[in-house]
Symmetry: C2
Subunit: 341 residues, 2 copies
Amino acid sequence: MKEDEGLPEVLEEVARSVEPVIYDALSENASPEFQEVLLYPVKAGGKRIRPAVLMLSCEAAGGNPEDALNAAAAIELIHNYTLIIDDIIDHGEVRRGMPTLWRKYGLTMALLAAVQYREVVSELLLKSRNSSRLLSIVDRYVMRLVEGERLDVLFEQVGREDDPYVVEHRRMSVGFDDYVDMVARKTSSLYEASAMMGAVEAGADENIVEAFRGFGLNLGISFQIVDDLLDLFGSTVETGKQVGKDILEHKLGNMLILRGLERMDGESKRFFMSVLRSKQVSQEDLDEALSILARTGVRENAVKEAWLFSEKAKSMLSMLPDSKAKRLLFELADYVVYRNR
Amino acid sequence: MKEDEGLPEVLEEVARSVEPVIYDALSENASPEFQEVLLYPVKAGGKRIRPAVLMLSCEAAGGNPEDALNAAAAIELIHNYTLIIDDIIDHGEVRRGMPTLWRKYGLTMALLAAVQYREVVSELLLKSRNSSRLLSIVDRYVMRLVEGERLDVLFEQVGREDDPYVVEHRRMSVGFDDYVDMVARKTSSLYEASAMMGAVEAGADENIVEAFRGFGLNLGISFQIVDDLLDLFGSTVETGKQVGKDILEHKLGNMLILRGLERMDGESKRFFMSVLRSKQVSQEDLDEALSILARTGVRENAVKEAWLFSEKAKSMLSMLPDSKAKRLLFELADYVVYRNR
């Protein structure tokens, strides 16, 4: 990385170096007819934040980021793998402004692609330097992610009535600690894995790897809080997602909804809860619910909370010497808070 | 294994030694609430043929089967992993006489369980002796299996109309070579992996590992031909599956259907094809289609074909010294042909 580069240039550079590795790995082991399906999710783009965290962590821990290229490609593929599954679970129809994989190619091909992605991840990690350690990090954190995803679904307030397990285990009351625990699993897992894998590929000591884990954990929580904010108050043009999706999906596992409800009372609270628990919501009711939520001041509160977690993430790396890569990781921790997509 | 044991005792012994490893691995990394979901598919039983192939291959190649226990648990979990996905893809409602996982716990939990299974497989393989080699075999053969499953779906003659990819790529003509290629991928993959992994854990040379691959390849084809037979002419009480499911699922990728059609003509053939291509089939029409098929003599032909592949499987191991384990693998190759479930 050149001395004068800022974060946007670095993200672009990471994308440029990781994407060919991803495309080759996906193409290598698949028939041409299946390649079309496999390449679709990664061609749709994405911010490539996780591979950037991985490669910058490698460099900040004293390694050569080029050595971490296979691992960086793997973590982006794991991310896409979990998105393919997530979109099936949440019946998500649009991602990155395009139809989701199951929407485009059907459930069967989406599932087969997901299985294939996971194997390609293994292939890439087996080609990496510290392959056993990396594979072990990946399997541990994907399992954490699964539990987070399970909780996220159980935090929904209504829906999935054809699914007795969800109805039976639904959480009708969710506290802030429950939220942080769920998010630490659902979202932080891959950030923890990214940062740790970068440090491992740099050959860093255990205490340094652990510091990077702490960075990823807090960065992930910050990231999710801002995702929650963008879901409700972002711009579809920027995010490629529908505004208010979390309300339509009845999610109590959104920090702004959770904090907002604490601050509402009387008629507003009753109305908001009724919208959150409605199976069909009109655009008018959704807009009204969003404006009730905005009036509680949770938007400002969310930015502040996200900022606190990003600051905590940075503090985890205090023992590292100053470097261009470390500064970029700090810049990334700021970007996560102030991004609009 | 004791000198006087036959195959049934060995299969029971394998089940007894592998099951605790499977249960522990699944339980270790999951919340109690999720364990219920995770343990359901393996508690439903199964023949445990793949772990038996793995452990017997290890012993026949001169190793200690105890050393292959983690790998044996892993291969049974991979098998169950692919069944969870397969039942979702095929809308299968019953397996081993019980509701399938998605039918019992809903699609969301079934998908999360599938993801978890794959990670537990990695954990188990990382605990094995030749972990990198085993992981590499698993990822290669699961990818082959994915392609086989994709082809199996494309060999269906109708259905999945909401799925433009399938409709567009459907194979309206399937030859015997296409069938064998599909089955070698869909079914042999895990037998090849089982046999190779056993040999690898025994520390066998490459040419021996390759011989075991050949054994697994042919055993798998034999197994699938008999599965095709049992699907059409088995007993629900024995198989735990609905009779004629492949006809109801419009599959041309069933050897008896494929060979049977070659032997039919005139009105019989027209009637059989119309049933195979019907979205709704009455029990009366299904019975009639099955009796047309039986009259072509494909049942006897299928047993003979399966027997030929089993004999070929055995011949692959000709360079191995005689041993109790080798004799049991041969017995298993016979059992695959003459089983009724």
